[in-house]
């Protein structure tokens, strides 16, 4: 099956691309997609949306899904602080 992957802001910059279409085996999860296409982002903090709804690492993907990688939104109040420290994997992974 094929899913669309789309990246934003700092993640797009880090990965070096904005959009891609990725072929995955049936029943692949968000985690499978990340491991196969953007392993270099393993240490970044970000959220994932599947078809414009927040999702988890273990969310199962379907053919034609759009998967978006979303950096944490700036708090607005403390733009002078550096981006937060990296975390081992996207938050809210259900492990």
């Amino acid at each position: 099956m094929n899913v669309r992957l789309v990246l934003f802001a700092g993640l797009r910059q880090a990965a070096g691309f904005k959009r891609d279409t990725v072929s995955l085996p049936e029943s692949a999860t968000v985690a499978d997609l990340l491991d196969s296409r953007v392993p270099a982002l393993r240490d970044r903090t970000f959220y994932v949306a599947v078809n414009e709804e927040f999702a988890q690492r273990d969310t199962i993907l379907q053919d034609g899904d759009e998967v978006a990688l979303l950096p944490p939104v700036s708090g607005g109040n403390f733009p002078s602080r550096p981006p937060v420290e990296s975390t081992p994997c996207p938050p809210n992974s259900s492990k």
């Binding site: 994932v48 978006a68 950096p71 939104v73 700036s74 733009p79």
Partner: protein, 160 residues
């Protein structure tokens, strides 16, 4: 009347425009929050200057999440009659508003202040819009703190 209540736009934002979008015959109080571009920010290392910002959004998810904030407000402050959230994308210069949030209620004690405050906090939590700070000598995409949960169905958990 047909103006959108939740909108991402490249055009300059107007406080008069958003007031018209939420004004109603039966409302006497409207609170508007404007987030504007700071040219100077006090930091531990002294003032830091910004030249301009560039905003990028995940459309149409961003508008969908803004509308969700409107729904959350309606549930929490049932007397609220009108909510509108407008956000710029693209380049924004110093002192320009980048986000406007307006909440209308019959009286000023009916939740317009509280709901407006709630909306800006929620916007920073769940609406996929990012800003790039630009200085004379560089640029950086600003990221917020990691949130423990990204389950948007439980705002209380998120706002912790």
């Amino acid at each position: 009347m047909s103006a959108k209540l939740f909108e991402i736009t490249e055009k300059p934002l107007s406080q008069d425009d958003i007031l018209r979008r939420v004004s109603r015959f039966d409302c006497g109080g409207v609170v508007t929050f404007a987030g504007t571009v700071r040219g100077a920010t006090a930091t531990d290392d002294g003032a830091r200057e910004t030249d301009f910002l560039v905003y990028e959004a995940y459309l149409p998810m961003a508008e969908k999440m803004m509308a969700r904030i409107g729904d959350e407000i309606q549930e929490r402050w049932p007397l609220v009659k009108g909510v509108s959230i407008l956000h710029r994308i693209g380049r924004c210069d110093i002192e320009e508003p980048t986000v406007l949030i307006a909440v209308a209620t019959p009286h000023r004690d009916d939740g317009c202040f509280e709901a407006c405050r709630y909306a800006i906090e929620r916007l920073k939590a769940i609406v996929p819009i990012w800003k790039q700070e630009n200085w004379r000598d560089g640029e950086v995409w600003v990221e917020g703190p990691r949130q423990p949960e990204l389950d948007v169905s439980t705002p209380e958990t998120l706002s912790k």
